[in-house]
């Protein structure tokens, strides 16, 4: 039997992060919804739990915003699947959001990692 993480150890995605993860996944190349879900789970070392309903709504939202485009095609094992591709606009957005996210993550890390260092605020600036 293959190993799978206990569902209790998984984390629900933070609001707004799903979009970013999808874009990041698609930056590696076009793929379909199921592939995106698998990739996100795998790359986060099975930490993230992807709610599939939300995933498809997010895909639809990104498509509406013209960050990704979709096209029906055949998967590697020859099944019909809807393939998503990152657009130039989506790539710009990804870059922007990624740097934003990194700044946020760093700040969070700093705050949470060194609780007993009062000078941290100064360092940040």
């Amino acid at each position: 039997m293959p190993t799978r993480k206990n569902p209790d150890d998984r984390l629900a995605l933070l609001q707004g992060t799903l979009d970013l993860l999808i874009l990041k996944t698609l930056a590696l190349g076009p793929t379909h919804g199921q592939g995106i879900a698998r990739l996100i789970q795998r790359q986060s070392e099975e930490v993230f739990f992807v709610d599939h309903g939300s995933l498809y709504l997010a895909l639809q939202r990104l498509e509406d915003r013209k960050w990704i485009t979709a096209k029906w095609g055949a998967s590697e094992n020859n099944r019909k699947a809807r393939f998503y591709t990152l657009t130039a606009k989506g790539r710009d957005h990804l870059v922007e959001k990624t740097s934003e996210w990194q700044r946020l993550a760093r700040a969070m890390g700093l705050v949470l990692g060194v609780v007993d260092s009062p000078e941290l605020g100064g360092e940040e600036a």
């Binding site: 199921q34 698998r38 599939h52 498809y56 709504l57 639809q60 998967s75 699947a81």
Partner: protein, 869 residues
């Protein structure tokens, strides 16, 4: 974006593909096929919920909220049916009146005439030295047609009558005689059969006739084999060669049943000074009306040099055919349209102020909805929807109202008027009218959505909640509502004074000093067939036996004959010259009436000098004539006209006649024109085949009409009779009276509606203002103000509004009256008594409208008033 959305089916397919892919992968990881499928499904979560979420997201939310708004609006309107009904009714009235009048404007002025390329058609007439237009003579026509370089074709026509002989008797029928190319010039092709050939337009040509579509329908039951059948007209057999199309109408001639080819056989067509024809022409390409006129004028001058006697002072007139046909009615229609427009304005103002009050009352509701999280846009959308629902309901109601009003109006227009203006019958609710209604609805929609929206923008939700809507915006809108009322009142003044002026004109017209006694006079047109009565002597003999018989009928006081009834038109004129006076080519133009000896005593005219003629003075005696006072005053000032001799412009011996008497003026010409000089020729010396019987009765003149017709037929069943009516009816039905009446009635109707609407508007504004000031009034009364002073305060407020409105309206109506000037008769545009009447009527209406709210204000209980919050 809405239309590019994915279908739910596509989405479901994507989910299915997801599950398959996931199952494949799980199988690769070692699960059995069934287990893989199960796990894939479990992993995915609820497919149904995903699809549902997709569906919800995909749905066009705005459509739904719009529908919800509509439902809510309708509910709102039902909740307040008084407001909704009033608003819709008022709007329907305004839009309906506008559309109905527009339909007639469209039929008369916008729709092209039913001819090929009608813009190139012109009417051509001759003109006299004083620019009076006159018919064209046959010989002049032939010269004009030959010499002109501006027309591709020119044709003539003349109206007339036939006596149609049918097995059941003789029936006078309207007919038109046309030159051969008439229909080709108009660009009209027969619906059946053929057109006239030029070779047929000769004396002694074949007796052929074309039927109007109406005659084909009524008299021949639309039979296809009508071509070649013969009809007996004036005792002569005519062969039917064609039927005119259903759409054909020709307003310049009577709505004739029979169209015959003009064969120049009568005496008139041999004389250059006998003007009996009307002409139409088609301009060559690139020729303007002005160029055509210049060309015709030069031909007229050439003819004048050639024929100095008959063509002295003759000019030409060329006007577009459409101008000739609708020129007379255009100003009237435009004034009616303006009247309908003003009514619509009042209706819109009225509904606007209703909306203002309505919105004001709902301030709290808006505040609550806002507080519960409705966005401004959402609330605004709600109001826009309500406005739209109102306007659309009003627009539909308006179309219904217009359809009804047009039916009534078409019935109101007399048969005589429709014969002269057949195009008015073409008024219907077609695309033009629907477009027009659409524009009105659109404008109203903008107005009625903007009104509450502006209101909404100017108010603050929290403020409204806090003080129950008694904020500064309330004052702003109270002022706005008052301004609207002032506009309404001013517009009403304009309509009322226009109606007053037109009504007074109509009254003046119908009460012109006629100079004869109208009551107890019955009239009947008698037409003798030329075949049976070819000579003057036979016509005179018949007239005499008829007069004898009628005289002996019970209740007949007197009976006479005239060739033209009084008070109808300035037509049938004669050219005269006074013997022994120097002559420079300017002849006297006088109305020419042939009357029997008893005519003057029958209508109760007054003899001023000389004597009447007697029955004995017939063709065997020297020729004599009577003239009227206008003639004597103009041409024999300060001398005795009796004994003077008149003749035609060449003083040909046969034309000489001696004046034996002068009659006081009576209206024997057009009702709305100055009295022209007239001559009265003894019927016995110069009879006619068509004449009017005039009978003075002791009893009701209407009752004798059938007896008159029967008496004529007893004498000779082949003689035609028509238009039996009383003299009062004749006067009421003359075209000018008809036009004046229709205009006055319609504008009067608009004014009455405007009066009601503006009174309601004033009432609304004052009542609203009182309701807003209840607390203030309470305070005043608590501080000792007397009830009567509160009463006075409210009335003073209303009077101020009314005074401003009426004063503004008077200024506007002064300007509007200048536009009306052309339609007024016997009334100046600035008629003081009319204005006074308008001010009085509107003042009383305003007082009545403000009395109720004033009374309510005065009976406020201070304690209750102070508690109202």
């Amino acid at each position: 974006m809405f239309w590019r959305r994915r279908s739910s089916k596509d989405f479901a397919e994507e989910i299915r593909s997801h599950l398959d892919l996931e199952a494949d992968e799980l199988r690769r990881e070692g699960f059995s096929a069934d287990e893989a499928r199960r796990r894939a499904r479990v992993e995915f979560g609820s497919v149904q919920s995903a699809e549902e979420r997709f569906h919800l997201r995909n749905r066009a939310l705005w459509v739904e909220s719009f529908l919800r708004d509509v439902k809510f609006s309708v509910r709102q309107l039902f909740k307040n049916p008084g407001f909704a009904l009033t608003a819709i009714l008022v709007l329907a009235l305004g839009i309906g009146a506008g559309v109905a009048i527009f339909a007639f404007v469209d039929a008369a002025l916008i729709k092209p005439l039913p001819y090929a390329d009608p813009a190139r058609l012109v009417r051509i007439t001759e003109s006299e030295a004083d620019r009076h237009l006159v018919n064209i003579s046959y010989l002049d026509y032939l010269d004009w047609k030959r010499l002109n370089t501006v027309l591709s074709s020119m044709d003539v026509f003349s109206g007339g009558n036939f006596l149609l002989n049918t097995p059941s008797g003789t029936e006078p029928v309207p007919a038109v005689h046309v030159s051969a190319g008439f229909f080709r010039t108009l660009g009209v092709t027969p619906a059946l059969g053929r057109d006239f050939y030029p070779s047929e337009q000769v004396p002694g040509g074949p007796h052929i006739v074309m039927l109007s579509y109406g005659a084909w329908e009524r008299r021949f039951g639309l039979r296809q084999d009508v071509i070649g059948t013969s009809v007996r007209l004036d005792g002569v057999s005519y062969s039917v060669i064609g039927v005119l199309p259903k759409s054909f109408q020709f307003a310049l001639a009577n709505q004739a049943d029979f169209w015959t080819i003009l064969q120049p056989v009568s005496d008139c067509e041999k004389h250059r000074d006998c003007h009996n024809l009307y002409a139409v022409g088609r301009l060559k390409d690139g020729v303007s009306v002005r160029q055509a006129l210049a060309n015709m004028e030069s031909i007229a001058q050439q003819l004048e040099r050639q024929y100095p006697v008959t063509n002295h002072g003759r000019g030409a007139s060329v006007v577009p055919l459409s101008e000739a046909i609708v020129g007379e009615i255009r100003p009237i229609l435009l004034i009616l349209l303006a009247g309908a427009g003003l009514l619509l304005l009042i209706a819109c103002v009225n509904v606007s102020s209703l909306l203002v009050v309505h919105t004001e009352h709902r301030k709290r509701e808006i505040a609550v909805r806002g507080a519960l999280g409705a966005s401004r846009a959402r609330i605004a959308a709600q109001f826009v929807t309500e406005g739209l629902v109102l306007v659309i309901a009003g627009g539909l109601g308006g179309l219904l109202f217009a359809a009804g009003a047009m039916q009534v109006l078409t019935l109101l227009i007399s048969n005589q008027a429709t014969a002269r203006m057949p195009y008015l019958l073409g008024a219907n609710l077609s695309t033009h009218e629907l477009e027009f209604a659409g524009i009105l609805v659109l404008l109203a929609a903008v107005l009625f959505t903007a009104t509450p929206l502006l209101h909404l923008l100017s108010s603050d939700i929290r403020e409204a909640l806090a003080d129950g809507g008694r904020a500064a915006a309330g004052t702003l809108w109270r002022r706005m509502g008052r301004r609207l009322v002032v506009i309404e009142l001013a517009t009403t003044v304009v309509l009322l004074s226009a109606a007053g002026l037109l009504g007074k004109s109509l009254y003046r017209l119908l009460h012109v000093d006629l100079g004869f006694q109208v009551d107890h006079l019955a009239t009947l047109v008698v037409r003798l067939p030329d075949v049976a009565f070819p000579t003057d002597a036979q016509q005179v003999a018949f007239a005499h036996s008829l007069l004898d018989r009628v005289e002996n009928l019970p209740g007949v006081r007197a009976v006479a004959i005239t060739t033209m009834l009084p008070a109808t038109c300035d037509c049938n004129t004669d050219w005269l010259r006074i013997v022994g006076r120097p002559y420079n080519g300017d002849h006297i133009t006088a109305l020419e009436r042939h009357v029997s000896s008893g005519f003057f005593s029958t209508i109760h005219a007054t003899l001023l000098a000389g004597r009447y003629f007697t029955d004995a003075e017939d063709a065997s005696k020297p020729k004599i004539v009577l003239i009227n006072r206008a003639f004597a005053r103009l041409y024999f000032p300060g001398e005795d006209a009796v004994g003077k001799i008149l003749g035609d412009p060449t003083l040909s011996p046969s034309s000489l006649k001696q004046i034996v008497g002068v009659v006081d003026d009576f209206k024997d010409g057009a009702l709305d024109e100055q009295q022209m000089p007239s001559e009265y020729i003894p019927f016995n010396q110069n009879p006619a085949s068509d004449f009017n019987l005039v009978v003075r009765t002791a009893q009701d003149e209407r009752s004798i009409l059938p007896l008159l017709a029967a008496t004529v037929h007893e004498l000779n069943k082949d003689v035609g009779v028509e238009h039996g009516s009383t003299m009062s009816e004749v006067i009421n039905d003359v075209p000018t009276a008809n036009l004046h009446r229709t205009t006055a009635y319609l504008v009067g109707g608009f004014a009455a509606l405007a009066l009601i609407l503006s009174a309601i508007g004033l009432y609304g504004a004052i009542a609203y203002s009182v309701s807003r000031r209840t607390r203030e009034i309470g305070v005043r009364m608590a501080l000792g103000a007397h009830r009567s002073s509160v009463h006075r305060m409210v009335l003073a407020d209303a009077s101020r509004l009314a005074a401003i409105g009426i004063a503004g309206g008077l200024v506007c109506s002064l300007m509007a009256a200048r536009l009306l000037r052309g339609l007024l008769f016997g009334v100046r545009a600035w008629d003081l008594s009319t204005m006074m009447a308008v001010v009085t009527v509107l003042g009383i209406a305003a007082l009545l409208a403000s009395y109720v709210p004033a009374h309510r204000a005065a009976s406020v209980n201070p304690v209750d008033a102070l508690r109202t919050e």
